[in-house]
Symmetry: D2
Subunit: 339 residues, 4 copies
């Protein structure tokens, strides 16, 4: 940690910072410059609170040197982690496609989607049983019934299932049916929920908060991992910016950036990342080219009649058309995708 | 709802949109312009899904006309609602000051803060027993013990208490001790939690998500209200922007804007809204001048030794200095504040 | 244009809006709904001012139906425009790579870079002679001398040259030496400059403002085109968001989105779009996969000793390594890139 | 400057950074920590390029310690500068109100507005003769004729005049008529224009770029000042965020923050900062309470018929109503405003 004192800081203010550092068991090194004094801290700064020093008299700013997460950090593991989801490895040489409807609407709908997605080359089925909706009057999902339909679709197709959990009280129920939990963008900092899924060993698909910096995204992963569950897969799904043509701004910089910062696999969700069906294929191709470990796509047999997210959902036929193009791009960047 | 068709939209596409509107029990009115056809919908558009129409062929964009919330809307009530918090009215002629530490650290600390805050003129005590922290290794609060300390401070000072609830399973526990729930910025879209507090009648201090538009903020209030609890007080606490000098960008436009859109009272939190102690007083004065129904301030007897948010916390002495200035500004805009 | 009146709008307010529309030579169509009256306008709304109606009593909001640009719009031209830059087509089947240093530092530096970039497969040379720098004490470019060095590099390598113009008074000087003007992100709304380059016929590489919505980006292109110069090439270069790890957030959604909205070619600048050398290759691949008509890259023989943008500049050797990977991705999405 | 090396950085990488610092005439101090080596730089870091070090092998990040501006910095002057605009002091004990129409439309319009604004208590007249408009088909201002009308209004009322300059070639023409230049938000980083007005001694009203951080805002002021013109008045006018109800998000945090960072006076523009007439009064009061040195307001005798910005312009009558309220708030915070 580096503590920058104000120009003309009082001698006592500097001494006070120095002795506080000492009191925390670390070593302060004062550096007297022409304009300002800077105090460097030798030792594990994670034991200290940035805010404490920022609050002391004559302190201008405090700059952390170390990253605040450890288990999720690249330094803790030189190669990308491979997380198995119902037998399917995520983070290995193969890019995976996860596909399925935004919401499970009926057994028929989810089974049909699963079949067509599997036949197109998707490896994992997605589908929401519990839907967090912005308005209280919107369709909220089939809940337990939806979970059962997902399980049926898995039996019928062999595809493992990922589905969102929104309530810490539902974690064990969802774990009975799903192969992977999804934590949605609005819950990325729902720490209770993170801890609850951290106490299982089921893989967790953690979506980036639409307002989260990379550091916060990785701290959310750290919450899950620090409870004992190392099976976290990250997912970039777009952030909120001033642009209004797209629902979100898909931040593909996140893919190589997270690769530098963490050993966890990272997927991309172009459906939410754009909010427009017409942009989904292009951004899926871009995601794979950027080095993502896969994409997660909203797919429906009849998008126009989907109960949720109709405008960003592609049809099963679109998926079948997209898959060979994704495979070609994956091959061009040295990855494998699909059969 | 207004549905704008693409230039050169096919006749069938237009017919399809028209019949879908009819199927939903509403009346479509086609308007044939020079470049485009536009279809207006007569009836309660809230019954229809924007996304469904956005997903149909040849539809360029869909523009809702009505606001998606009802109970929280200004139209549902011509005057600002007055919400009583342990006997203290929020939203009436008096601006209220809510003060207290970020976190409850000990009985002594919270009781001393409460006394000094009350003596300075604060009306309600704040203090966190359950702390949602960005990193898993940070101090997470005293939990149930913290709630008991808050209750002690209330007994000692007569100040009603507001404290954050983060887990739907804790709602009844917190309700035993608190006079008002706080829903934090990271939980503004934790719908489970919103519904849970909506099933009580205790007032709810709902903080704006750092990434939330006004409409989403009011939809979160609607979640609480639609469960039967009308006692919602809104709180602007800063949004995330590209600026890095301040922790957040306090959006005071929200005060008069929310006043136009809703009848709910609105407070301002300049502590989180700036993240810098040196800016808190100026922004408190600005908040009152903008028309806010009060401010909520982080106050600690010894901010430098606070366990959390030290850098944005003012001292009890600072609060005592600030109060007469707040009163003067309140008087200047026709409100009353303090004794 | 759709004008939404407030709930309970006065009869006179509605009449006033109607007669104002009539006065502008257009036809108002009132739609009386359950809660609100909406007035649709038939005719070319571009003749009216949104703000005028928004300012009238009892008007709640005004929603334009048409796009405010015409020449740049997709509707004005069904296929992507091909713009020739010194003989090299941009927007055709071939993706082009534009490469070169941030700033021209010496004749030797620019000629060496140009040779190595050309040998690697780059088609156009970039290099700044006039540098807009955030601080007044930073290196501001070699100016006229830099232009002469660029011309020398062109003679030596045959590569056409693109260079930034920042002052309307320099437009004719730059036009003597360059094959294409660059308008930088900070000047995207410098309308004087846009008009000045609009009065030439030299191609213009228009970079997106770091704060600009797609509509504003296309309106900036419209400024150039409305002066008579149709040769505009757009360039996505990252927008400003809350993320701090990267200098900007490269918005690749812009590529397919602009393709829908406009017939102008669109390039991507991953150097500025990330601000980090280690992310440039991945994002170049992603840009090509997203459908961009090419990329523009900061390349220097010895990036560490570059006078500007050292941290986002790749070496000539890196470019040589990247090119075959870019070609492979281009081929995978049905484009050609490089020899 | 603090240079943080990667974990496990090679000995040569560290030596290379050290010797590069020495070569720049500064002194490197290595600090060997448990996980990382950090190198502190003693001396005037402004002579070095952050980017150069960021580009060197094994460098993780570079953190500047000093602020990059000097003349504009608070440290260079302990009290707020008072800038005289045609005899009216800005930055002194009195808060000033600058008022006038967005655009000069006719002699009659500007003279009437000036009279009524002066009678209400405004001290300076604003009005645009050169209008930078987002679209090329919008009204662009009366240009030289507008300047003459402004001069007439000054003669008639005694109010000094501020007007925008957008073209470096117009600086001397505008200086003939105006008492203060305005640099608009889109030109905050038009460095040519900043330098050109820096070469005069006329006061400059510098509006914050809608995407600019405080540091960049102050660096823009530094551009003007480094050319020899110390008469810079800053103006917060709203930044672009994800909120869509308001045109911009007025950032009042900027007022006390800039006060800490700089000695330059700071005004607030609630008209552009909200984009909605109904919010202007509340935000003007808030601006004065936050400590601003004044406000600049768009005022028109007949806003509905204004040619530009009608929706954010208040009437002369509204101004007359607002003034005593502004005075009351100014008095409450220890300032004077109006007669």
């Amino acid at each position: 940690m580096i503590i920058v004192m104000r120009e003309g800081a009082a001698r006592e203010s500097i001494d006070r910072v120095m002795s506080r550092i000492g009191a925390d068991g670390l070593k302060p090194v004062p550096l007297v410059g022409v304009e300002r004094t800077v105090i460097a801290v030798i030792g594990d700064e994670r034991k200290m609170f940035v805010e404490t020093f920022a609050a002391m008299p004559d302190v201008e700013k405090v700059m952390p040197v170390l990253r605040p997460y450890k288990l999720a950090a690249r330094e803790s593991r030189p190669t990308t982690s491979v997380i198995k989801v119902g037998g399917i490895p995520v983070g290995g040489p193969e890019c995976v496609v996860i596909a399925g409807p935004c919401a499970v609407e009926s057994e028929e709908q989810i089974v049909e989607t699963a079949r067509r997605a599997r036949d197109a080359g998707a490896r994992i089925l997605r589908g929401g049983a519990f839907k967090p909706r912005t308005g209280p009057y919107d369709f909220q999902g089939l809940r337990a019934e939806g979970l059962r339909h997902l399980a049926t679709a898995r039996t019928e197709t062999g595809l493992p299932v990922v589905t969102e959990v929104v309530d810490p009280r539902d974690v064990s129920l969802v774990a009975e049916y799903a192969d992977m939990f999804q934590i949605g963008t609005r819950n990325m900092q729902n720490y209770l929920l993170l801890k609850e899924v951290g106490q299982t060993r089921l893989p967790v698909l953690l979506k980036r908060g639409m307002h989260a910096r990379y550091t916060e995204f990785l701290l959310a992963a750290e919450y899950v991992m620090s409870e004992g569950n190392p099976n976290v897969v990250l997912c970039e799904r777009g952030i909120r910016t001033f642009e209004t043509y797209t629902r979100n701004t898909l931040d593909l910089n996140a893919v190589p950036a997270i690769r530098e910062l963490s050993h966890l696999p990272i997927l991309v969700d172009p459906s939410h990342g754009t909010g427009r069906r017409s942009l989904v294929s292009s951004m899926s191709l871009a995601a794979v080219a950027s080095g993502a470990d896969g994409v997660i796509l909203e797919v429906h047999p009849d998008p126009e009649n989907a109960l949720t997210d109709a405008d960003q959902t592609i049809s099963c036929a679109d998926l079948a058309t997209l898959m060979p193009r994704l495979s070609a791009v994956a091959a061009a960047v040295g990855r494998k995708l699909g059969a």
